[in-house]
Symmetry: C2
Subunit: 462 residues, 2 copies
């Protein structure tokens, strides 16, 4: 195996090289992400408006678009030591297999029990909930990675944890529930009969396989109707991207240490937490005019919020009880086809990333799931790691870019986020192995149904 | 969180600190492990006798009890770089939870897709099979970790891989099969109708849930009756312990680097691969009279080969077609109760470890599975990692030792092997969560049935 001299195969930072502050990319954005709006009055929401739903200190982080660096509390840094730094790996074997002159790196976030990068924000959110003296938190989970991460974090701080899990994932990933139970969480398939909004959704859509939008509505209802509880979210929000900046900062420190400069940075995008975290310090340099990078968001063709959505204020949840966020959206009524296996099912996208995309600072591509699983298997066989379907969207795009380099002969440096492992996705892998996996691209007419649900009010033209 | 100054929370070796040779503990043993015997003639088996079953270079390693160090080929060292070094972690959070003065370290081998240490030997065995120009290899797997590891290794070297999986594990761990298929292996539940020995076992024991002994017989039959195939084994054999010495050598280098000296070294023991690997360099010092350590093997009370077995020549497989090995054994007819969830199901034990145990160089304890899962859950909640049931036997013993230190006030340094992750063991975890897990300790009469099957011949008194 070829190996560059003086660069380790896997780069791990030393403890004293680890970031001590998160980087808040909004501070460097000229066009700030639009504020959350009250769904009824359409007025921007301030701290007091948000405090029934979110933890106080997290609201501060949510609203803060001026401080570039926010210190990571020591307790969170201690927890990070349990599974961080994550390795930045040079994909030598994949390069060899593809016979490409490109240099491919991936930042691997799967080496922790939650199996993904979600733990980076879960531990932060649990910490601030504990600090505020709360009894517990509620949340939704899709693929189950966020729910598992939050369960682990709550267990660490001895907080109650109630998880609403999208029903299709609950059924496809029966063992996820047991991992969450190992960490003491309660897990309910959503939509459920345990909430008013769940009962309403079930009545209107009997047999629905659920969506993140439904599950969010249920979790928010439970948080706001129980004393000592708040709602926490694993993606989309500014605060989550802030916590996830640890991914990008470690990546940048590791690359700087060895003089590696990426040409292309690639991340999968559902709500944007991994992508936003990975790109943040690089985007910061780009925003400040110091450097330029190609940044590519990869989303499923079956849930194409960036590539086919509208940039508009929309509900984050199906029950329409959450604040309105300005984002690329397919409409809160959009539910991806049940044949879609690969996570990344949210109808909207981080406001921060939406603004950056709208301003032309990043690109987006949509890929079909069969090709994603092909890329996943190819990667697994040469690089060893069994990737999560979500992460495999980024693998697919990275392979495509590397193959373009093969054609042009360019020695580009590509870095992508390998967000997690696929141990709980074997039902989908089985479908793929048996040739039973199909692709699905919504028609314009199908998308229009979702768009019709986006609220119309002055200033929300799209 | 408290943290010792100057010692990282997790110790990772640098690439240039990695071992370049395996350590062969047999070279330092005064009483060598007894040789393998021909099951019919009871004569020691040499290279030519073994070559229909095993790869040539692996036979050399199997028989070599004089060379203390055997160089690791560059191709294997390259593969090791994909997931090694594994971290040596200080269990600060567990210590705090237990309120013990003991210092607990664990060597974590689960950060690779096979989920365990098994990959260390799988890649070596696949490499030598490829070097010999074979088409493929056959093997058995119990919990599925070895089969997964071998699938990954064979995929890397483009070798065919046929896995016979103990039926009870095949049913309890449906997704393991899909991971192996992802790496291109074929997986057959054992006993099966695909072999003569499988058909015989099924006829004699209809409804059997299988055992490693049955699966070994089937895999050996397939290897010896197909051109270009050999049989490979994930534990028990001397060669496997040799490859697994990488675990102990990394551990020792890391500890030496920071001046840490263990008082107690603990490993779970099924066939002995992890334990043998972890302890090897420490045992070497002990054998050479340089240092002394307490070394503890932990086995399930339901399959207690060390603590209740006989030290005798016995068959390694149920079909009695393999060489005889001298070892602590429950008899090749012994099949652990189906309620036993925690792996470590083999009726025998590595000859090397058996000799060391017989010579009083190590201790053994047997633990019951409910207490093992309690330890697993306690560990998961504070240390983050979801452990495999096998590994959790070592956790249980380490906790017990740490609690003794709490009573006595001794600041002992304990190191244990955390061999792998439990992502595919959620059926067992679910049973535990639901209170449906029971313990099983075989009666003396039940064990006697197994002992009655141990062959009697001159020189094999027990």
């Amino acid at each position: 195996m070829k190996q560059d001299k003086n660069i380790p195969y896997k780069i791990y930072l030393e403890e004293n090289e680890m970031p001590t502050a998160w980087y808040n990319v909004r501070a460097d954005m000229k066009n700030k992400p639009a504020p959350l709006l009250n769904p009824t009055t359409h007025e921007p929401m301030g701290h007091d408006d948000l405090s029934p739903v979110f933890c106080d200190e997290l609201i501060e982080q949510e609203l803060n678009d001026t401080d570039a660096y926010i210190e990571i509390p020591q307790e969170i840094r201690d927890f990070y030591k349990m599974y961080r730094p994550s390795p930045l790996v040079r994909a030598y074997c994949l390069e060899e297999k593809l016979d490409t002159p490109a240099k491919i790196y991936y930042k691997f976030e799967g080496n922790n029990t939650s199996g993904s990068h979600k733990l980076n924000s879960a531990i932060a959110q649990a910490y601030y909930a504990k600090k505020q003296g709360l009894k517990g938190v509620t949340t939704e989970t899709g693929a189950g990675q966020w729910g598992t991460a939050l369960s682990m974090a709550c267990s660490y701080f001895d907080l109650d944890c109630k998880v609403y899990m999208v029903k299709v994932s609950y059924e496809q990933k029966p063992f996820r529930r047991e991992v969450m139970r190992t960490y003491g969480a309660s897990v309910t398939p959503s939509p459920s009969e345990t909430t008013a909004i769940g009962r309403k959704i079930l009545a209107e859509h009997p047999g629905t396989t659920g969506s993140l939008g439904c599950a969010i509505s249920e979790a928010v209802e439970v948080a706001t109707s129980n004393d000592g509880y708040r709602y926490v979210l694993g993606s989309v929000l500014n605060q989550v991207l802030l916590h996830q900046s640890i991914i990008g900062m470690e990546t940048k420190i590791a690359m700087d240490k060895y003089g590696i400069v990426p040409d292309v940075i690639i991340g999968c995008a559902g709500g944007g937490s991994n992508l936003g975290g990975l790109i943040s310090p690089f985007m910061g340099e780009k925003l400040r005019g110091e450097k330029d990078y190609r940044i590519i968001a990869v989303e499923p063709a079956s849930c194409p919020s960036f590539t086919r959505g509208k940039f508009a204020y929309d509900f984050c949840d199906t029950g329409n009880i959450c604040p309105l966020a300005k984002m690329y959206t397919l409409g809160s009524g959009f539910i991806p086809s049940a044949n879609h296996a690969g996570g990344l099912r949210f109808h909207g996208m981080s406001s921060t990333l939406s603004q950056l995309y709208h301003d032309g600072l990043m690109e987006a591509v949509a890929v079909e799931q069969t090709s994603v699983f092909q890329a996943a298997e190819q990667f697994a066989r040469v690089e060893g790691i069994l990737p999560a379907p979500e992460s495999s969207h980024a693998i697919k795009a990275a392979i495509d870019e590397a193959l373009k380099c093969k054609e042009t002969g360019e020695e580009k440096t590509i870095v992508f986020g390998l967000t997690g492992t696929g141990y709980f996705d074997m039902v989908a892998y089985e479908k793929f192995h048996n040739g039973d996996m199909t692709d699905y691209i919504p028609t314009d007419a199908e998308l229009q149904v979702g768009f019709d649900g986006i609220p119309k009010f002055p200033g929300n033209e799209f």
